[in-house]
């Protein structure tokens, strides 16, 4: 009963999708470098633009994330960070451009649930957990496995699932809160719980939107540690304002500005880029 529902579209489907994407997209330049990039990437964003009522939120945005990579994305307000996340996770459809997962699956044609089941987890800017559920239930709901309606109706908790939940509870430092209502957690704890829920989904790619906003210094430090630990197992993209935190992450940084990539590289390298200085300090 439990594994009836297929989560991802079949391979044949994704292949055709990919072909269409390749033909239609602007990336027909047949650039060898790109091709090789594509075959190795876990996330491939190319030439993506989107407009809201005349406002251009993303403008020909392209970047790539390799498997196992920890990537930080920074940028001033309105740079398009959250919109980019929306596009990757299927919440918003781009006007033009390609978004490929593991070089083969076209994400622009799928909806949130499909993308989530494909192995992309997302943490919101504002911590979003199920406040009316206990911490345990929050993790249980996120636990990978059948997402079908009847599957859920007749679901019985298995020992393996329980063990995984316990393990995650330890990872996110909420062991003692397992039966607490999520609504009663502190802001930082909610952030962790949300990260824990992502882990329960067993994703291949984690998108984390401002994980330390509103956290105390010690919490921020713990969070950085947590993310670095996670990054050992999964590919992680972190969007953040907090430079100190990004420095703590110690990873490659992409700077967004007005909907496109301004600079890319190590943090200290990027910080020396005059355009980045201009954007951050110039105004």
């Amino acid at each position: 009963m439990s594994n009836v529902i297929a989560n991802a579209p079949s391979n044949a489907d994704t292949m055709t999708l990919e072909k269409e994407g390749a033909e239609n997209g602007p990336a027909v330049m047949a650039d060898a470098q790109r091709k090789s990039n594509r075959s190795e990437t876990i996330l491939y964003v190319d030439g993506v633009s989107v407009t809201f009522d005349g406002f251009r939120a993303l403008n020909n945005l392209s970047f790539y994330v390799e498997p196992g990579e920890l990537r930080a994305i920074i940028g001033p307000n309105g740079a398009g960070k959250t919109t980019m996340m929306d596009i990757i996770t299927g919440k918003t459809r781009p006007d033009t451009g390609d978004v490929l997962f593991k070089s083969e699956t076209d994400l622009t044609k799928m909806d949130e649930a499909d993308i989530a089941n494909l192995g992309i987890g997302r943490k919101f800017q504002k911590p979003t957990v199920f406040e009316s559920h206990t911490v345990f239930d929050n993790l249980l709901l996120a636990c990978s496995g059948g997402r079908g309606v009847f599957n859920a109706l007749f679901h019985r908790l298995s020992g393996a699932e329980k063990a995984r939940i316990d393990k995650t509870l330890t990872t996110i430092m909420l062991d003692d809160k397992r039966d607490e209502m999520a609504a009663n957690l502190s802001h930082g704890q909610k952030q962790w719980l949300e990260i824990g829920m992502l882990l329960m989904q067993e994703p291949e790619l984690l998108l984390v939107d401002e994980p330390v906003a509103g956290m105390t210094d010690s919490e921020t430090e713990e969070t950085a540690k947590l993310l670095r630990a996670i990054a050992k197992e999964y590919s992680v993209v972190v969007v953040e304002h907090d430079m100190e935190f990004v420095r703590d992450l110690d990873c490659k940084v992409t700077v967004l500005h007005e909907g496109s990539v301004l600079a890319e590289g190590r943090l200290d390298h990027v910080q020396k880029d005059p355009r980045v200085i201009e954007v951050y300090l110039g105004r």
Binding site: F52, D53, F55, A57, T82, T83
Partner: protein, 567 residues
């Protein structure tokens, strides 16, 4: 297409005439027969005073047939004193005085009637209604009277009276009137009226015409005109011609003319549908626009919105009651005063509701539904307790009564025209308040980010109360307008509440222009469906279309896009 429409417009002079239908009437026919025999236009005082008095006294009979005979006799000699008598009779002002059985014209002044002598036209006493017995008229008599008056008026020195008489004769389409009309045409020197007379002649000449040439000429005159009456004349002619056999070229010409007229009429029908749709839309808009603020801007699911409209309507009633002793009936002032009064009353009640109930419920939109539903029940019952459950009468001022009627059959009633205009003024007013005033700015600030607004020093509670008051007040103003077309009863609000929500949701919550466009498009769609599907099915189709439309655009016509929506 545009040329065609243009030519249609050109060919149909916008002859503004007082509304009138009209058909062949037996009484009219007989009256005219007599006229043809005896009429002496401008004959001065054909009756002696005594004769007139005697003949008028014969009106005091129960039999309509006898009354008609008398009316015809009176009208036959074209005595100028007859017209006022017949006019009084038509208006139900002709009485028999019980004391001396004289026929007098009675003019009501307060509780007493002033008696006016029918011969001299002077006041000859007064009495209460008990001493007078009315000479009763029914619809048959009214028709006869009107035709008799028309023939008398055909030679009146007053151009307007003559014009009306011609229209009346044209409506009656009675071939026996033709000789009279011909005589009138000879004397007429007003160009416009002459054209109308020629047209009237053509309607009669078609059937009565002696030879093909006369008929073809008549058809030619008729085909230039676009009215439902002409269509009826032509189609009757075609039908009888086909049955009886007639010169083929005349029949063909008549058919062509009929097709022309029908084609132009159907264009006008479409124009009429659009107008009626806009008119329905303006009513929906007025009903919904207050809700666009309380629900659209503030997010309160305001089930008491309908009751605010009702309060506005009742305020109109009360204002009229208070002013009725001061102002003459038909004066526009009571309605004009009612507008700010309704705004204040409904607005104040709105503020009270906001302060006492709704302010505790911000952030719980669904619970506002329950509380305002309770408020609506209480307000309905309160109205019922204060004013009673029955309809109250709100009178229409003169400027809102009647209609502009185009000869093409299109009727634009004044009350609808004013309501369309009024709805646009109200919307423009709200738009200005929201856009250009400090209060509008504060209001937008509070609804977008309450906490932030509070911290920059806006008194959010104050703004909330005023905003809700504004929405309620505007609903009250809508009540003033709706009292002119609907019944003023405790159920008034319930009639409009569902439609109002549909309009706001269809347009997109929080968008004033969406509400405007939503109201007008729902109105027009409804009115276009109605002729085919009937009123009930049209409404069902509109509802289903709305449901399907929301599938297509889950946030209404004008939805905000982007991140802001769910933040």
């Amino acid at each position: 297409m545009r040329n065609e429409l243009f030519s249609v417009l050109r060919r149909s002079p916008f002859s503004l005439k007082k509304v009138r239908g009209g058909f062949v009437r037996l009484g009219g026919a007989m009256a005219c027969l007599m006229l043809v025999a005896f009429v002496l236009p401008n004959a001065a005082q054909a009756f002696s005073d005594e004769e007139l008095r005697n003949i008028a006294e014969r009106l005091d009979t129960k039999s309509s047939t006898q009354k008609i005979t008398v009316i015809e006799e009176m009208a036959a000699d074209g005595d100028p004193r007859v017209a006022p008598i017949l006019k009084a009779m038509l208006e139900g002002d002709l009485f028999v005085r019980d004391s001396d059985e004289h026929v007098v014209i009675g003019r009501k002044k307060g509780k007493v009637y002033t008696h006016i002598d029918i011969v001299s036209g002077e006041e000859v006493g007064e009495s209460s209604s008990k001493e007078l017995s009315k000479i009763k008229v029914n619809n048959r008599l009214r028709g006869a009277l009107r035709d008799a008056l028309a023939t008398l008026n055909l030679f009146s020195p007053d151009l307007n009276i003559r014009t009306n008489a011609v229209e009346q004769i044209m409506d009656a389409r009675d071939p026996t009137m033709l000789p009279l009309l011909l005589r009138a045409i000879e004397r007429e020197d007003d160009e416009t009226l002459l054209a109308r007379m020629e047209l009237a002649r053509a309607t009669m000449a078609l059937a009565a015409g002696e030879n093909p040439a006369e008929r073809l000429a008549a058809i030619d005159v008729l085909s230039s005109e676009t009215t439902p009456q002409i269509r009826a004349v032509l189609s009757q002619f075609v039908a009888s011609a086909e049955a009886e056999g007639i010169e083929p070229e005349v029949l063909a010409a008549a058919k062509d003319a009929l097709n022309d007229v029908e084609g132009r009429l159907s264009t006008w029908q479409t124009v009429g549908d659009v107008y009626r749709g806009i008119s329905l839309g303006s009513v929906l808009l007025l009903a919904a626009v207050g809700l666009a603020i309380t629900f659209g801007v503030m997010g309160v699911i305001n089930m008491a919105h309908g009751e605010m409209i009702m309060i506005g309507a009742y305020t109109t009633f009360v204002v009229q009651q208070i002013l009725s002793s001061v102002l003459p009936s038909g004066s526009p002032w009571s309605l004009i005063i009612a507008v700010p009064a309704a705004f204040l009353v409904a607005g104040m009640i709105g503020v009270v509701i906001e302060r006492c109930v709704i302010r505790f419920l911000y952030g719980r939109p669904l619970e506002t539904l329950l509380a305002t539903w309770g408020v609506s029940l209480v307000l309905q019952q309160a109205t019922r307790t204060i004013f009673g459950a029955t309809n109250q009468q709100v009178t229409a001022p003169d400027f809102m009564s009647g209609a502009i009627e185009f000869s093409t059959g299109l009727v634009l009633t004044y009350n609808r025209l004013w309501i369309i205009l009024f709805s646009l003024i109200v919307v423009a007013g709200i738009a200005c308040v929201l856009r250009y005033t400090a209060f509008g700015l504060q209001m937008r600030a509070v609804t977008q980010n309450r906490r932030m607004a509070g911290s920059v020093g806006i008194r959010t509670g104050y703004v909330d109360a005023l905003t809700f008051g504004l929405g309620s007040g505007i609903a009250g103003i809508a009540g003033v307008a709706l009292s002119q077309i609907s019944n003023v009863s405790p159920n008034l609000g319930q009639t409009y509440i569902i439609d109002s929500f549909m309009v706001v949701v269809f347009g997109g919550v929080g968008n004033l222009w969406g509400t405007v466009l939503g109201a007008f498009s729902l109105g027009i769609v409804n009115k276009f469906l109605e002729p085919f599907a009937g009123a009930v099915l049209a409404k069902i189709f509109v509802l289903i279309a709305l449901i399907l439309f929301i599938q297509k655009r889950p946030k209404g016509l004008f939805a905000l896009k982007g991140r802001a929506v769910e933040a």
